[in-house]
Amino acid sequence: MKINPTLRRASGLAVIGSALLIGQAHAQTIPESTECIAPAKPGGGYDLTCRLAANGLQDTNLISKPMMVSYMPGGIGAVAYNHVNGVRTDDPGLIVAASTGAAVNLALGKFGQYDADEVRWLGALGVDYGAIVVSADAPWENLEELMADLKDNPGEIAFGAGGTVGSQDWMKAALIAKSGDMSPKDLRYVAFEGGGEALAALLGDHIQVFTGDLSELKSQLEGGKIRVLASLSEERMGGPYADIPTAAEQGYDVEWPIWRGYYMGPDVSDEAYQAWIERMQELAEDPVFAELREARGLFPMSRFGDDFDTYVKEQVTEFKGLAEEVGLTQ
């Protein structure tokens, strides 16, 4: 972010300037031109999050002009976070995609000088849940059997998922270990590039437990090659997931919601922030949006404004505690 501040500021100002002009003309708090930054390369989860807002707002006629989706990969979201905190701090037309993974990175101090208090947390439009998955021919029928075996033979059972050590995928494995009175440090965790590779490794019995997300398991459930021992949700999910017990039901108090939400710059006016909250609430209640959300494999979640802000900050605090416990903070 320190590379070319003048140019950045100039372009930022231009955007803000034009936004202000439009705002005045229409006496609106949110400019007509809106933008969502996906802090990743095209095609990933953040892209999906931005498109959920962009397509949803357009299909429900809550915006008149299509929302622009731009990409700002780097630092697992840190580059975009710094950008919003340093350059486009008060752009009323800009939202940035975030998820549980961003909260984890904030907790680990991976977003540089900025912490979770810096931005205005707008809200979440959907959520996915973690899942504990084993192969269909694995010896464990439920979470308790797995945990008992894990205690006796920690070296025989390897966990794996699509994220690095310290990522939200790893957190799921760490929390499960913790709930069974094991130290996450003793866990054998294998970091793959994306959930697909980890799933392949599970099917080939290279790893024994995959800590994935419910939505990415839909096709596998039908295929009958895997067994989901637990979903990390508050309660059982419906549809194809109805038979999957929660971890809490089985006596392991672990929940892992992967929310998909947005934040705005720290200096965005209260009026614009409130207008966005109302707009997002309206979107979340629209049946057209429910269809869009389901098509992306997401479950409903409606937390906006202060409610969401508190939620994210509590999460960050909780993750900080966990990270310190296992010696991950820097």
């Binding site: 095209p42 990409y71 690095t164 965790y189 295929g223 098509a295 820097q330």
Partner: protein, 504 residues
Amino acid sequence: MFDFLIDGFGVALTPLNLGLAFFGALLGTLFGALPGIGPINGIAILMPLAYTLGLPAESSLILLAAVYTGAEYGGRMSSILLNVPGDAGAVMTTLDGYPLAQKGLAGPALGLSAISSFIGATIAIIGLTLFAPLLAEIAVMFGPAEFFALMIFAFSSMSVMMGKDPIKTAIGAVLGVLIATVGIDSGSGVLRYTFGLPELYDGIDFVVMIIGLFAISEILLMLEHAHRSEDDGKLPPLGRVFVSLKEVIACKGAIGRSGLLGFIIGVLPGTGASVAGAVSYTTEKRLSDKDNTFGKGDMRGLAAPESANNAAAVGSFVPMLTLGIPGSGTTAVLLGALMLYNITPGPMMFTERPEVAGGLIASLYIGNVVLLMLNLPLAGVFARVLTIPRWVLVPAIAILAFVGVYQLHSDLFAIYLMLIIGVFGYLLRKLGFSLAPVILGYVLGGLMEQNLRRALSISGGDVGILWQSGISLGLWIAAALLLVLPWLVPKLLSKKSREEAQQD
């Protein structure tokens, strides 16, 4: 058994879908030809468009698959014409493609690579149709340990590229491996060589690396020559336009073997067109480079990686269609596209949504023919690109690349990084290093390290896991043979011939 394919052809041959396959092939070729936009970005850009247009699932999948295969065709153009690989799979294509163009054989080189691409892809599509479910079972047998052994095999097969300066080749490869270590270490979550810059957390992007290393260094070399000599404007001769049947037949072995090899590598989740290109080139060089002409404009050295990278692109559909597991970044994006239509790929897709599975496979057949028809006649047109002076052409490509990279990163850091890598590449070239080992070290080294770390986290640090399975043991032995045989065989042969001489 092949009902789905017959249905599929019915779907793929409707005017709309045929038109989309054609449109996708054309766009894909363009995306591949422009350095900076690869198949992943091409598909990610088009996906929301297809969805917004309200295309049915099979149609948008046909469009996106055509873009994907088209990009593998297109990637070779700037490799051959400018010595700048258009995408990851086309790195090896520069090695013989560019020298061919310099000899005035740009037209035939483009034509031959189109035919190789066609045959390689066709081999893979047939493989996909016949053996997909079986292959998927074998693919999941490859775990981290097996992948590590495969990378060892790939590196030892690179030894054939040592050429006249083995030390420099080795140093180049090691430099590439070093660059691959930048970023968050996935095994421990620790930041490596990021110097407190969040922009480096995710490592150095492949596109940034390739444009910097190849295109920027090329411009710097040209700048230097412009100040020194008069003959800068001299263009390579533009010879004949079409490849002859004789030349194609001379490459039949290279094309066939590489197609098969590329397909197998593509099927494995996690290895794609770049690995396929590297392994097939080095294998072919070992098998057929009797007169040491590879790297100097040998048609076979061009045909091999082109056949392999297209075959690999098709191969990566196997785990996606049969297991619902994306075998490459590009198929991961395609999988996302399917999810949007509420289709979950996997074994059930062939029975539940045969029009999608069959339509996709049929469209691969059709798209491939379209691509050949599109690319063969165009070879002559594209070869004319070389009549543009290089001092116009290369900067123009660089500008396109700058725009492409900026578009993908929304960040000037990537541009600066690209320039730094360009200067680095220029210095390497001045010192007589070849760039291919650097880029291969970067691609293979990253995969090798990750898989080594994964294997060791599974075993808890016991290195025995690395040769425990039959597959990995076989790969280790093959790798050892690759290193020992070239040294051993001539000795044995000369001994034998000495004995024979004595008998005479």
